[in-house]
C-alpha cells in the first residue's frame, strides 16, 4: 500500500525507489554534474596558469594571461566588437520582436499561423547557412560609399535572425498572460492605444522584456558561425578570434578569453537579478 502524500507534493520515496534506484540515481547525478562542470572548471583553472603551454599539472599560478589579454589591442578590440554587436542585436531583435508579438496578440489578420511560421523560420536554420546567405547577398553592397560587408551593423542584423524569433516567441507567450481588462481600463479612462502600450503594457511585461533582451544579448555575444563569414580583421568578434587562434596559439590566453566572455554574460545576469528583486520588493505585498 502506498504512503501518504506529503504536503509539499513530493512523492514519498519508499514506494518508488528501492535502494538500487537510489544509488543509480546518485551515480547519474554525479555524472551529470561532472559532465557539465568539466569544461567550465578546466577553463577557469587554466586561465590562472602561469606557463605558456596548456598542460596539466599546473605548477605556477598567476594573473599573467589576464594582463596579457587586456594588454593586447587585438583581443580587447575583439571583446569590444562582441559587446557592441551584442547590444545592437539585443536592441534590434527586442524592438522588432515585441512589436510583432503585440500585433499577434491584439489584432486579427488573415493567415496568422502562416505568418507565425515565417517569422520563426530563421531560428531553425543553421548559422552557417544564414551567415553564408547574408554574406553572399549583401557582401558586395555599398551604401553611401561604405561597404557594408564587414560592418558591425550587418552582423547585428544577421544575429537578429536568430534573436528576433526567440524574443517574438517569448513575448507572445508573455503577452498572453496579461489581464486584458487592465488594457481596457486604460482605454476606458481615455488613453490612446500607443500611450497604453508604453505606459501600461510595457511596464507590466518588463521582466519578460528584460529576459528576452538578455537572451538576445547572449546569443549574439556567443555566436560564431555567422560572425566568421561576416566580419573582417577590424570587426571580428571574440569567438571568431578564439576560433582562428585555436589551432595556432594554444595558450592560456584562450582560457582567459573564455572566462571573460562568460563573465560578461554573468555580469548581465546579475544586474538583471538585482533589478528584478528590487521590482518585486516595490510592487508586491
Amino acid at each position: 500500500m502506498s504512503d501518504i502524500v506529503m504536503t509539499d507534493g513530493t512523492t514519498p520515496r519508499r514506494s518508488l525507489e528501492p535502494a538500487i534506484f537510489r544509488t543509480l540515481g546518485l551515480a547519474f547525478t554525479v555524472f551529470i554534474v561532472a559532465y557539465i562542470l568539466i569544461p567550465i572548471v578546466v577553463t577557469l583553472v587554466m586561465s590562472f596558469n602561469d606557463a605558456a603551454m596548456i598542460r596539466f599539472p599546473i605548477n605556477d599560478w598567476s594573473l599573467k594571461w589576464y594582463r596579457d589579454f587586456f594588454g593586447s589591442p587585438q583581443w580587447t578590440d575583439a571583446l569590444m566588437n562582441s559587446i557592441v554587436i551584442a547590444v545592437g542585436t539585443a536592441v534590434i531583435s527586442t524592438t522588432s520582436g515585441i512589436l510583432a508579438a503585440w500585433a499577434f496578440e491584439r489584432f486579427h489578420f488573415p493567415f496568422k499561423d502562416l505568418w507565425y511560421l515565417l517569422i520563426m523560420l530563421p531560428l531553425f536554420m543553421p548559422g552557417v547557412v544564414l551567415g553564408l546567405g547574408v554574406a553572399i547577398a549583401f557582401g558586395g553592397l555599398q551604401i553611401g560609399g561604405y561597404s557594408i560587408y564587414g560592418s558591425r551593423e550587418l552582423v547585428m542584423v544577421a544575429h537578429s535572425l536568430w534573436a528576433m524569433p526567440l524574443v517574438f516567441m517569448l513575448m507572445e507567450a508573455t503577452f498572453r498572460t496579461i489581464d486584458y481588462r487592465v488594457i481596457e481600463a486604460s482605454y476606458d479612462l481615455g488613453a490612446r492605444p500607443a500611450r497604453t502600450f508604453f505606459e501600461i503594457v510595457i511596464p507590466m511585461v518588463s521582466t519578460g522584456i528584460i529576459s528576452s533582451a538578455l537572451f538576445a544579448f547572449v546569443i549574439s555575444l556567443n555566436e560564431f558561425a555567422m560572425a566568421l563569414f561576416l566580419t573582417d580583421r577590424d570587426t571580428q568578434t571574440l569567438p571568431v578570434l578564439m576560433w582562428l587562434s585555436l589551432r595556432s596559439a594554444g595558450t592560456p590566453r584562450l582560457a582567459v578569453a573564455s572566462v571573460i566572455l562568460a563573465l560578461a554574460v554573468f555580469a548581465c545576469l546579475t544586474l538583471i537579478m538585482i533589478w528584478y528583486v528590487r521590482q518585486l520588493r516595490k510592487v508586491a505585498r
Binding site: 489581464d179 481588462r181 487592465v182 481596457e184 481600463a185 486604460s186 482605454y187 476606458d188 479612462l189 481615455g190 488613453a191 490612446r192 492605444p193 500611450r195 501600461i200 511596464p203 507590466m204 518588463s206 516595490k282 510592487v283 508586491a284 505585498r285
Partner: protein, 352 residues
Amino acid sequence: MKQLAGDAALDLESVRRTFGTVVAVDDISLAVARGEFVTLLGPSGSGKTSTLRLIGGFEELDAGAIRINGERIDHLPPYQRDTATIFQSGALFPHKTVAENVSYGLRMRKFPKSEMEERVRRYLDIVRLKGFEDRYPGQLSGGQKQRVALARSLVVRPAILLFDEPLSALDLSLRLQLRAEIKRLHDELAFSAIYVTHDQSEAMAMSTRVAVMNRGRIEQIDSPERVFHEPANEFVYTFIGESCCLPVRFGSGAATDKLGQPIDLSLEMKPSDGDWRLYIRPSRMKLAGEATAFANRLTAKVQFIEFLGDVYRYHLKAGALEMFSDHPGPTGHNVGDMIDIGWKTGDMQAFR
C-alpha cells in the same frame, strides 16, 4: 459639451450584436435619465455583459445607435467616449500607486497638476481610502482594490458609469459592505450608471430601475418593487425570488399532474381547461393549521425536512408535483405524513 435639456444620459436605440449565428444583444432599446441607476439583471448568456461592453466601446455594434447626452458615440473607440468602467477584478494598474491609478483618467484629460492632486485626495476620501495614495495594488485587499477602482472611475465624472459585475469576485460580507458603499456613493454624488449583475438581491438593493434580461432581450424594465410584485412574464417571475412551480392539467372538472394522476387541489377560481403552470412563492404557502384559513388548498406528503437556521424547509410531494415551503418552527409533522398547504389567490400566478 452642449446638450439638450431633455437628453438622456444614455440612450440605446435598437442595439444589436451578433457573434456568428448567436444573437447576443437582440434589438435593445433603453434610456437612462441623468442620475438614474439602472441594473441589467439576468443569467449568464442573457446579453447583459455584451450590452455593457457595447456602451463602453469594447465591442462593435452590428445595428442600432448609442447616444450619450444626445450625441451619437457608437463609432468612437473607448478612449473617446465619456464613460468609465468598473471591472470585476478592479483591473488596477499593478505597477502604479493608488494615487497614480486614480489620477490616470484626469491625466488623459489634461487636468492641471494641482487640481488633479486635490481631486484625487477628495475622491480617495469619499471611498474611505484616505492615506492610501502611495500604496501599490499588490498591497491591497480585494475590497480595497475595488474602492480604488471606484475612485478611479468616479474622479473623472463621466456622463455614465459602467459597472461590470464588480462584486461577484468578493466574499459575502465584503459584497454586502461594498454594495451599501456604492448605494451611498450614488445617493451622495447622483451619478448615472448601468450596473450588470446576476445577483438579484444586489439589483434590488441598489437600483432606480431593474432591467431583467434573457437571451439578448429585455423582459421587463421597472422599479425593483414592480419587478418583484408585478412580473411581466413567467421568466421574470421565476428569475426574481424563489418560487415553486406546479404543472397541472385541468380537464372535465378534475386536476391531474403530468402523469395523469389526480391531485387533491381546490382552487378559489377554477382556470379553464388545459395545461397550466401554477407558481407560488414558498414564503406565501402556509402549512398545517394555518393552511385552513385559505381558499386554495393542496394536500401533500412530506419528503424531507431541511433545517436552514431561520426556518424549517418542508419538501413536499403530491403525485408528480414537487414543492417546498418554509416554516419558522417545526410543525410536528414527520417524513411521510400528509400535510395541508394553503395560499391566497393573490399570491398565485398562473401561466399557460
